[in-house]
Symmetry: C2
Subunit: 313 residues, 2 copies
């Protein structure tokens, strides 16, 4: 197969041996794959692949067609249209994925949208529901809402009956966020004033965390999953106590397979049906041919996009 | 009745009308009452009583004998020996308490020990179990372990099958902490090196929170319930994310009655049996006559004690 391989801090389109599934894995022919910030960091050498994943081929999510299945795989057959979350290796013609992290593609969805679903919706599901315990009727602030995880989170929280305030730095995106289901969309400082919030999904990080704490409701939670604005913040612990608040961080990538499979089981059960019903969609900002991943990564690094960057083959 | 009343920032032993229980309350003749930091803060005007509690009589925990019961009280009868957690008013000859916050005194326990039980053990229970999800086999660090909540927490965590590291600033207390069930007891910096911890019960606050985060295990939690060392800390959010950690604060006093009753139901079910079985004890540092509460408060403010300060009548 051909793959986007990391060599000397650059991506090179080059030939590699086909990956071979183990007994619990499926081999997937990649039709489309999402590009994520982690991929860009991995190329720069700042974010090593988790154990068991190819260390020189990035790519964490994809959609495609099953080409082969291991002897213990029960859920999938050759020819199935699937989407998957993997530890790496998706920016290639072929990839192997553990059965528990593969999802059936709903009918009517195309590969481009499907490829942009797993990473952001799984991250948003885990951060807001598994970790954050979001319940209907709660008020949620999503910061950095115009990004991939943000657009997923706004839709998912709204579909689950929460009242969503979306914030982003670009005034041009506010109407898009309303169209995704946000009740209100504001620039960051104005958004905070629309609290108090039961849950803040913090995709920007830095001092936004401390600022958010001041606008939490009693028993409010802050789920920190992005640190673009900085990794440090000066926290007022008396506010934490007075509000009986919780602040927590989460990353999916570093978790053991068993934990990822538990999260994906939640996505399969609770999120995929919303996608199948047309209540969630995957905004796509741009597509690039698979072999031009380098250009796609550059586009992601440039920022300012709305929706996912997708590679297609 | 006579009560310790706040007047012009001082306590005065003076006569007041007897409190009258509502239909769901019991009237208790106070035999002994614990002194807590919140009482001292309340006298100074820094910690107003919660709604529904007397605003000028401090005292949050007591043991005594039921003198009267409201018409809807089912659990208690006149003459019962009880202990209770109240929003205030316990440093008096009589106090009313909501049925759901009153606990039966185990046989064989005296009023002095019983009076020192509710506040610290309920706080420790809530912070470590209800909020912190502590489970057997986990490794727990209790900071400020020589104080009231600390001595309760060390015993409770050890009795529940956790492995407890206790830290305090006084070398003289380390042996006492081992005697309470801590597996190890150290000065603060050395204690941190004994991690990684699944749960840190942070009774000191300030930069201890940030230092603790660096010594948490994957999925570790920090429960912040004391801020003696400061209310602010510079937090490394990347550590939070890498460890999938949670930091949360809690105070009991400000919660609505229904929530307090839920916590007390947990204490009644899970903690009182350990007290009755002799697996928990209430270390008492000193007792003072009820009418000399002012001296007892001074003793508490002076610090350096091991165990509770108790008023007796």
């Amino acid at each position: 197969m051909y793959a986007n391989c990391i060599a000397a801090g650059q991506l090179t389109w080059s030939e590699r041996p086909d990956p071979v599934p183990n007994v619990k894995q499926v081999l997937i022919e990649v039709r489309a794959a999402g590009v994520n910030a982690a991929d860009v960091l991995q190329v720069r050498g700042n974010y090593p692949a988790p154990p068991g994943s190819p260390d020189d081929i990035p790519g964490m999510e994809l959609a495609g067609v099953v080409k082969a299945v291991g002897s213990e795989v029960r859920r999938f057959n050759v020819g199935d249209r699937v989407m998957a979350l993997v530890g790496g290796g998706a920016h290639a013609e072929l990839v192997v994925a553990d059965e528990g992290t593969v999802l059936e593609m709903p009918r009517g969805l195309d590969f481009i949208e499907a490829a942009g679903f797993p990473e952001v919706f799984t991250t948003a599901w885990d951060a807001m529901f598994d970790q954050g315990g979001l319940r209907p009727g709660e008020r949620v602030l999503v910061t950095g809402a115009a990004g991939g995880v943000g657009t997923a989170a706004v839709q998912l929280a709204a579909a689950a009956g929460a009242s969503v305030v979306a914030s982003c730095r670009s005034e041009d995106r506010l109407a898009d966020l309303i169209a995704l289901g946000a009740e209100e969309a504001h620039l960051p400082e104005a958004a905070l004033e629309r609290g108090p919030f039961d849950l803040i999904l913090e995709l920007v990080g830095g001092d936004g965390v401390a600022a958010g704490l001041a606008h939490l409701d009693i028993r409010g939670r802050i789920s920190v999953i992005g640190l673009g604005a900085g990794r440090s913040t000066q926290l007022d612990l008396s506010q934490l106590m007075a509000r009986r608040a919780r602040i927590f961080g989460s990353t999916l990538r570093a978790r053991p397979l068993a934990e990822k499979e538990m999260v994906m089981a939640g996505v399969r059960r609770h999120v995929v049906p919303l996608l199948a019903a047309g209540r969630l969609r995957v905004p796509v900002a741009a597509t690039y041919p698979l072999e031009l991943a380098r250009d796609a990564y550059q586009r992601l690094s440039d920022g300012g996009k709305f929706g996912k960057i997708i590679l297609t083959s």
